[in-house]
Amino acid sequence: MTVRKKDNLRKKPELHADVKAKVDSQKWFYTDEVKEHFFKPKNFMDEKTSKTYKASGIGLVGSPACGDMMKVWIKINPKTERIIDMKWSTFGCASALASTSMLSVMVTEKKGMPIEDALKIKPQDIVARLGSLPARKFHCSVLGDKALRAAINDYFRKTGQTKRIITEGARVIDKATGITDKDIEEAVLEGADTLEKLQQKLKVGIGNPACLPEVEQLLRFYKEKYSG
């Protein structure tokens, strides 16, 4: 998956052929980097550690019904405001597991990532570090950064820094996945112009179809906003 610049995408969508193959020609198999993280996951929370682990913040997103669930524990050095340790636990496919594992490496390497930078991590950044993910697997990486932000917010809450809690000005549309209107906007900018494509990217509303009407409305809204 290549990360495309937003500006290039604000152009009108190209004319589509009337007949399009449903199955893309993307390879199904994973990069060595994905496999490495899948078969030898880094920093996962094991049973024993979990009993004594003193986390500064904990974040949990997703649900088994939608097929992905992630829990993230972080330790933060309050003086340097860096993440000095991260542990995780993930229910999901190989892409989801590898993405969380990679995320844990990204935030803890080089003496730990400053909170402010960690808050800005996007799924695209994780995918870039993994080499690539098959396009239809992109959605499997979207929960990791959310779980991390949830953990950082939890830290802010626990340390009484309520003002710093980030709601991102975004509204959660799908409670099961934590997908917000912002995520939908971002996905539309990256070319998701149908509900199907949106779901391929974000997995929104799968296992929670109740939110679909609102998703479709937002899809229409952002499409009009950016194609006009």
Partner: protein
């Protein structure tokens, strides 16, 4: 590493005897069956011969068989063929929620064309109740299509009962028997089917070949128009080598059926009981009355695609109804049709056995599976408790 292939329900390897039967028809006996010379005659004879041999196994006349490009085409031919030819009589079709996408998507297409479709529900084992089918019949019903055996969970449907009641009411009855062709009795008279689909790729024949049986006298609208092959019902030069191979494969499968079923049933049950020893698992589909080669197990708290990748790393090929391994990102419609809760529907595996499966293969799966499940459960934050998972 030796490959342990347990995905025979997806497709089977082509039997060497089948390959041998096909080979002369590529470069030596390459004629076009429609040609008026001895090369054409040679090819025509081969197609006629294959057709007769298959007909005698199905208990029908050779003129009731149409060769196609596989299961999907046969199903499309049956459903659209009946719908378009009989729309004056009615516009209602009955099928089940458990069917293959070839049936479901064709029905969805027909709904767009103005037909109405009733999807009869199935019970927790995936069985269609003939009474439900009977209740769904209206004066406008022209076609019932119910699969003979399910590809994911192996449930065998009560085809002859449904066929009998359809016959009484003068409604055409089609059955998708792709998964049954190697294992079950396919005598069309006993099954009371008017139309029947089978294909080569599940019975150690080539992929991309299939047939539709359509009882004599049934009007069907063709899908393909052109040179008038297959008595005008399916135009296009016959795929002679594949037709020859298909006939050979079907004969081989049917001739060893009983002893092979016994052997597979033993292996199947050993695999099922071994896998159910793992915590928080359950068998999907019925205990008996299921295809002798089908094992489908759900594992709680973990996801199917991740299990597949671990199995693949150990040389084991299986498949999953997990959303993450599918194009649509939806979990298996079959698992949902049997009432599996969403949160448990992401962690199922199907192992489908075949003629090269040995007891050693089963032992290998049973040796690696517990540790794969353990590893993934250690990584998972989910701890579900659901009834019927021991």
């Amino acid at each position: 590493m030796k490959t342990v292939y347990l995905d025979y329900a997806s497709t089977t390897p082509v039997d060497p005897q089948v390959v041998a039967s096909m080979l002369p028809f590529f470069s030596q006996k390459f004629g076009n069956p429609s040609s008026f010379h001895h090369k054409g005659m040679e090819a025509k004879n081969a197609v006629d011969d294959a057709r007769s041999r298959i007909a005698s196994l199905l208990g029908c006349s050779p003129h009731e068989l149409f060769f196609t490009s596989g299961g999907t085409e046969s199903i499309n031919f049956a459903l659209k063929g009946i719908a378009f030819a009989h729309k004056q009589k009615g516009n209602h079709i009955i099928t089940s929620t458990l069917e293959h996408h070839a049936v479901l998507d064709t029905c969805a297409y027909l709904e767009k064309q103005g037909f109405t479709v009733t999807y009869v529900p199935v019970d927790a084992q995936g069985r269609v109740n003939p009474k439900d089918v009977e209740r769904a019949i209206t004066p406008k019903t022209i076609l019932i299509s119910i699969m003979y055996a399910n590809n994911e969970i192996g449930t065998i449907e009560p085809i002859s009962e449904i066929g009998t009641l359809a016959q009484k009411q003068g409604i055409y009855f089609h059955s998708d028997a792709c998964q049954a062709a190697g294992a079950l009795d396919l005598d069309v008279r006993k099954l009371h089917v008017d139309l029947l689909t089978i294909n080569g790729s599940k019975i150690y024949g080539p992929k991309g070949i299939g047939l539709l049986y359509a009882r004599k006298g049934i009007a069907l609208e063709p899908l393909l128009h052109g040179g008038g092959q297959e008595r005008g019902m399916r135009s296009g030069t016959e795929n002679v080598p594949y037709i020859v191979g298909f006939a050979k494969a079907f004969e081989l499968a049917q001739s060893h059926r009983d002893q092979e079923n016994k052997r597979l049933t033993k292996l199947r049950d050993a695999l099922i009981s071994g896998l159910l020893k793992i915590d928080k698992t359950r068998l999907n589909g019925p205990k008996s009355n299921r295809l002798p080669n089908n094992v489908n197990i759900s594992f709680l708290d973990i996801e199917g695609e991740a299990m597949l990748l671990y199995l693949n790393e150990k040389g084991i090929c299986a498949s999953t109804g997990s959303a993450c391994a599918s194009q649509s990102l939806e979990t298996s419609h079959v698992l949902r049709a049997i009432g599996m809760p969403y949160e448990a529907s992401h962690g199922s595996l199907r192992f489908s056995l075949g003629k090269y499966t040995t007891f050693a293969d089963i032992k290998k799966v049973l040796a690696v599976m517990p540790s794969i499940v353990k590893t993934l459960r250690e990584l998972s934050p989910v701890r579900l408790t659901i009834k019927h998972f021991q």
